[in-house]
Symmetry: C2
Subunit: 517 residues, 2 copies
């Protein structure tokens, strides 16, 4: 049985007690200090009623306190449940009602929406303790984070193996987010497995500025706890801040989405910063163009660029494209456009609709298994059963595999758009657009966008007689209902959709019209 | 849940089908060929009655067929059980009676003892199929390995997680060997964990010449199956053959015991061979002197020397001493004399007799936990219960930990001698010596030996009136009963032993007499 997150913290503090563990906004702490704080903060959480398997929800920006609360929650035996601060209040409430946390932790940046969702959650009969983890003064009615960190330490709950460590919400095709349950084994297998791939070395200095509700933020933190690497946290992605931090802390490693890579290297002051310490850049969550890779390699000449493909349900790593395949023989064979090969310890297969393996080169659904595969969806046995068949996670992503085991994505079976690294489910946006009184039918697709990779576009058939000058009105209508990043950035009007024999909108055809190759 | 060995073979053949997997004595095969052979050989094993969890015992020298049979056994769902070809027939029979295999695989080099033990095993009422895996002509009464490899392939049994993969016999303090049960999770955790430490890289070329009844032979093979590294197999350790193979195959990595390191670099023709391809040498199983490390580093200037400490029960890795600690700051702090720090994914603690952690610098028993910890001892629930307490393997090794988490071995609580990398339990040798009619009392200890690290020495009190010129007679007496490598190399006669208050022989005192610092 795999040990748990707190075991790994203990191992690292045993071997590098006085090395710096985390850096944030001018403050830093050693592994020994982080260890002591973890046991105390866990004591504080226990006082707030966080018993084994109880949830603590977070609506916070990235900081050292994000990793602290994750460790303390594991230590106390509870389940850390980060929520998306960019969601609308109804969306947040939905996830709260689903995960029923006893505690909600909020920072300065998310105070207003946090308060609103807390009020609504309490109104519907739930008990909730509010915990303030911001740097400002603790508001009334909140427990104070720094005070909680001075609680009496408690014994490690000793969580490991299949014990639940975290719930991450991921977009659902039914319009409601699903809670992905990840165990200690899941996150540990992912951490150790990615170390075997060469990531998160113990001598590394990692910069983490990804949104806290993404596993791509939590996973590197836990991997660094396993290896003893130092992490530099930034509250969010501001290109100049990232560049300045790389220079200041001699950062060696990070994980970014391609949009961020582009924003960094296109920053007008890029050359003013010394970024030569970077040796390892993982990118993922969206395709990257050859041109961008070439420019990025030139901009970070001492860095290996490694593409990762995965999903929250896989903790998250499924495939890895090592740097060597981006050029030379790899590029000649077009493998630089793949998402790489099955990560160590993981099996990947491409299957047809009847779950039978297809020959190399044939498109099918990508399925994956390994110790990194989630326990299931929180409170959703039916959807879990549909996603996990004979132990394999059916990703809903379409792709094919070449003779060398390299996986090429060709389509998203789940009809999802990836814009700026965010997964957006078309059906959720469609549900929203069609609620507009003038809209008769709607198909939402991703169209190529230089900045965001893909842009959400609503293709709309209006009711007869409706005014066609209402693009902004439809966008505003969506913004009142769902997170801004999910809303259409463009709206186009049409008289008809290309349809399949069965009358289904052929989105592939539709996408072709707006993005001819 | 961790996937199993056959999953990892499938992953590797998916990603590097046409790369060379194994090389032995002029023959070689690709991963695709090895994969095909595995499914066929598994079909052959199934025909021989090897059902789920049934054992197949091996008495073989190292070769490509050793890894083939391990993979095929995993594929068929059976349990590969390597036995020590250097054991006496009674010892072999003992392990056979314990593990009750249906099949025994023997090669040319072990044919005679194999036949003898098979006959004795059958005599005591057991059914047994003999399988000949040697390169010579298949003897009568044996199944032929190459013919079996042409069987109809079968479906992978899909073994993983806690399913039993292998049983390795390890010396027992009661004089009888214990079968260590290792699961697919155990061996996989060890393989991936050691890859995270930087061993067994996918571009590596590994040379394996260790005895097949040692996990240090099986573990690298399975790790190479996980990573896709190529392995060169030699039947045993012959210094000149190893040097020639390193040159011929541009070997990058190996695992040796210190005695072997010494024999390599002291070989008169060492400088005639090009060994500059070596980048990674793991050594373990016994302490290494500073002088030897220095000479070894000079002899292999491009190689990192990494010390590993572990035991069969830990699949086998517990601690790792990275190369950087052998010199500079590490040597200044004396850490080059440690066995290193807890391996990634593993927890190590030093505890007192009541199982409470002791302060740093204080000697206690080393205990270890992690996904690499064995399932238990085969058919020995009591000894399993004594060894695994609250999930921790109590190693029986004494040591202390410094402030940096480096573990220093100081004593073997289990009273074991390590000679030429072999574990020898004193009690087993003592049981044997005291059966000699002239011997009244005996205490067996290890004394320093330039070639073997330690040498087995019997300290004997004779019966009154017995002739004291019988050293060789006592040695010969032992050789008739136990494996030669376990027998005393020196016998000394004494009038008394240093005793504790309770009347127990103080072996530490005894050792001091023969090995003053």
């Amino acid at each position: 049985m795999f040990l748990g997150v707190s075991s790994m913290l203990r191992r690292t503090v045993q071997t590098r007690a006085n090395d710096i563990a985390t850096v944030y906004n001018g403050r830093q702490q050693t592994w020994a200090e982080l260890y002591d704080k973890t046991a105390r903060l866990a004591g504080g959480l226990a006082k707030l009623g966080l018993d084994i398997d109880e949830r603590i929800a977070l609506i916070v920006n990235n900081s050292d306190r994000y990793v602290e609360i994750a460790l303390a929650s594991a230590w106390a035996g509870s389940v850390v449940t980060p929520l998306n601060g960019r969601w609308s209040v109804p969306e947040l409430l939905d996830a709260m009602e689903d995960s029923t946390p006893l505690v909600l932790m909020i920072d300065d940046a998310n105070l207003e929406s946090g308060k609103q969702v807390a009020e609504a959650y309490r109104k519907s009969g739930h008990k909730l303790t509010l915990l303030f983890s911001g740097d400002g003064k603790c508001p009334e009615g909140f427990e104070d984070y720094t005070a909680l960190c001075k609680s009496e330490p408690i014994e490690d709950a000793g969580r490991m193996g299949d014990d639940l460590f975290t719930i991450f919400y991921t977009g659902g095709t039914t319009g409601r987010s699903k809670g992905v349950m990840l165990s200690h084994t899941n996150i540990m297998a992912s951490a150790i497995g990615s170390m075997a791939e060469g990531h998160f070395g113990e001598r590394g200095i990692y910069i983490n500025m990804l949104p806290t509700f993404h596993l791509s933020s939590m996973w590197p933190y836990i991997a660094c706890v396993c290896s003893g690497a130092k992490t530099i946290s930034l509250p969010g992605f501001v290109p100049e801040d990232v560049l300045a931090a790389i220079q200041k802390y001699k950062v060696t490693e990070t994980l970014l989405v391609p949009t961020m890579v582009q924003m960094l290297i296109e920053h007008p002051d890029f050359s003013k910063y010394d970024t030569s310490s970077m040796t390892h850049i993982i990118y993922g969550a969206a395709p990257i163009t050859e041109a961008l890779v070439d420019r990025a390699v030139k901009a970070f000449p001492s860095a290996d660029f490694v593409q990762a493909y995965g999903m929250t349900e896989l903790s998250p790593l499924a495939t890895t494209l090592q740097f060597e395949h981006l050029h030379g023989e790899g590029r000649r064979l077009g493998r630089n456009r793949s998402v790489g090969r099955a990560t160590f310890g993981v099996e990947v297969e491409i299957v047809d609709e009847d779950d039978n393996p297809v020959p190399r080169g044939t498109v099918g659904e990508i399925k994956v298994r390994g110790a990194n595969r989630m326990l299931g969806y929180w409170n959703r046995p039916e959807e879990t059963k549909a996603a996990i068949i004979d132990g394999w996670m059916h990703t809903g992503d379409g792709g094919y595999m070449d003779e060398g085991g390299f996986v090429f994505m060709v389509d998203r079976i789940k009809d999802m758009i990836i814009s700026g690294g965010e997964n957006i489910y078309s059906v959720e946006v469609e549900n929203c657009v069609t609620q507009h009184p003038a809209v008769s039918q709607c198909a939402v697709i991703g169209v190529p966008d230089e900045k965001w990779g893909e842009r959400v576009q609503a293709c709309v058939i209006l009711h007869p007689g409706a005014n066609s000058g209402i693009e902004q009105d439809i966008i505003d209508h969506c913004r009142a209902l769902i997170a801004h990043y999910k809303c259409p950035r463009t709206v186009v009007f049409r008289d008809s959709f290309p349809l399949s024999g069965a009358g289904k909108v052929l989105k592939r055809e539709l996408r072709k019209e707006y993005a001819p190759d």
